[in-house]
Amino acid sequence: MLRFLLGIWLTAVIIVSFAFPIVANPRQWFEFPVIPGLDQKARILFFHVPMSWTAVLAFAVSMVFAIRYLATKNQDNDIRSVSSAGLGFMFCLLATVTGSIWAKFNWGSFWNWDPRETSIFVLLLIYGAYFALRSALDDEQKRATLAAVYAIIAGVTVPFFIFIMPRIMASLHPEPIVNTEGKIHMNGTMLTVFLSSLAGFTALYVWMLNLRIRLARIEFQRQTRG
């Protein structure tokens, strides 16, 4: 039941985000304002940003359960951790793809080592390595432990990027929506749509996570018996 609501919700968001016109100074409730630098292209914001945020969220969750695993040595925590990591990887890919398509039209090229691009690229590398490591370990306790350890080690190095990237290269990437001056380029409508999309994607993530966890658990039980 819930999942139908989710489906309807997301389709609504998609339709709206494309249907509503973008005008210089919106009067009707259904009009989006122009965001300087990205006019029609602003629409992707409704997908690109939620995706990236969901990815970040998923990795965070994965990290939490990784730490829990090390604390409890309970295999179930590993199941949760890896499931979330997988989803994070997927959303991260989507964000990159949408992002780079966006980049193509905004900055002229799909990829040009923009800090944001670099950081997400590294994120992909880290979790690529994470899964490669998992596949190279037979014993499941070891697999869980070492994967968790690696995720943690990688995790602590991420902040360094945030710090050094600006020093090394300037970014073309638009300011965070909630940026320093706290000025918001969106009007009520746009913000509503944006936030609904954000909520929609988060819900999608939660739903998929539960599916994967249940699946993994069943798999686990099956192997225990067989």
Binding site: L125, L133, L137, D138, Y150, I153
Partner: protein, 224 residues
């Protein structure tokens, strides 16, 4: 903290001596540095290259050599089955810091060779501010050896060691590499020391953070 210092040095000396006997790691490292350097020299020929690129290349060489040599410390313990022996002889941290010390020594000697040769052989690479250059080398070596040691510990437990090591190490080392490269640039451009302060702060804290994390997680890797 790191077990008694005495046993840590013992651990270090053990690896050191067995390296002197087998020369596996050292061979790999040196072979790589020398070969790569001569490739660079050859391909540069007599055209001039921007110092930016040169400082990048220097650290590429260092990174690659590190990747081809530094995993040995743990991998060989694993393959000869002496892990159990060590577990019965010393605290995990003694082992870790011993290995770290060894990798540092290895990498330091490597970098000294690489750096010296680089400066001597490549004319376009002129260090204008040695204070920056040397400090970068030092901090870079520290951070690099710390990160590659803990990753080596993880990789040693995996099946595909050869190719997995750089894959796992790179994303973790990247912030370090980017920083040392920009610091090296400053050294070559002859910027005042103060300008590199930011880089040094990053490098130092990187080292501290990695060691701290290793300190916390190593036992999980070491004991099964």
């Amino acid at each position: 903290m790191m077990g008694s210092l005495r046993s840590t040095t013992a651990m270090f000396l053990k690896d050191f001596r067995s390296e002197l006997r087998t020369r596996y790691a050292l061979t790999a490292l040196m072979l790589f540095v020398i070969t790569t350097l001569s490739i660079i020299l050859f391909s540069i020929g007599n055209e001039s290259v921007s110092p930016e690129i040169l400082s990048g290349v220097l650290w590429i060489i260092v990174f690659f050599s590190a990747m081809s040599g530094l995993s040995r410390t743990f991998v060989s313990e694993e393959e000869r089955g002496t892990v159990l022996t060590l577990q019965l002889l010393a605290k995990p941290l003694t082992v870790f810091f011993g290995k770290l010390l060894f990798n540092f020594a290895l990498l330091a000697s490597l970098n000294t060779v690489a750096g010296t040769l680089y400066i001597i052989l490549i004319n376009d690479f002129v260090v204008k501010n040695y204070a920056i250059f040397l400090l970068t080398m030092l901090l870079g070596t520290l951070g690099l050896s710390a990160a590659s040691t803990i990753i080596a510990a993880v990789v040693s437990k995996a099946n595909t060691k050869g190719t997995l090591y750089p894959v796992m190490a790179f994303p973790i080392l990247l912030p370090l590499l980017l920083t040392v490269i920009s610091a090296t640039r400053l050294a070559v451009e002859g910027a005042p020391f103060s300008e590199a302060a930011g880089e040094f702060r990053v490098l130092f804290s990187y080292f501290v953070v990695i060691v701290a994390v290793s300190y916390l997680v190593f036992e999980f890797i070491w004991k099964d």
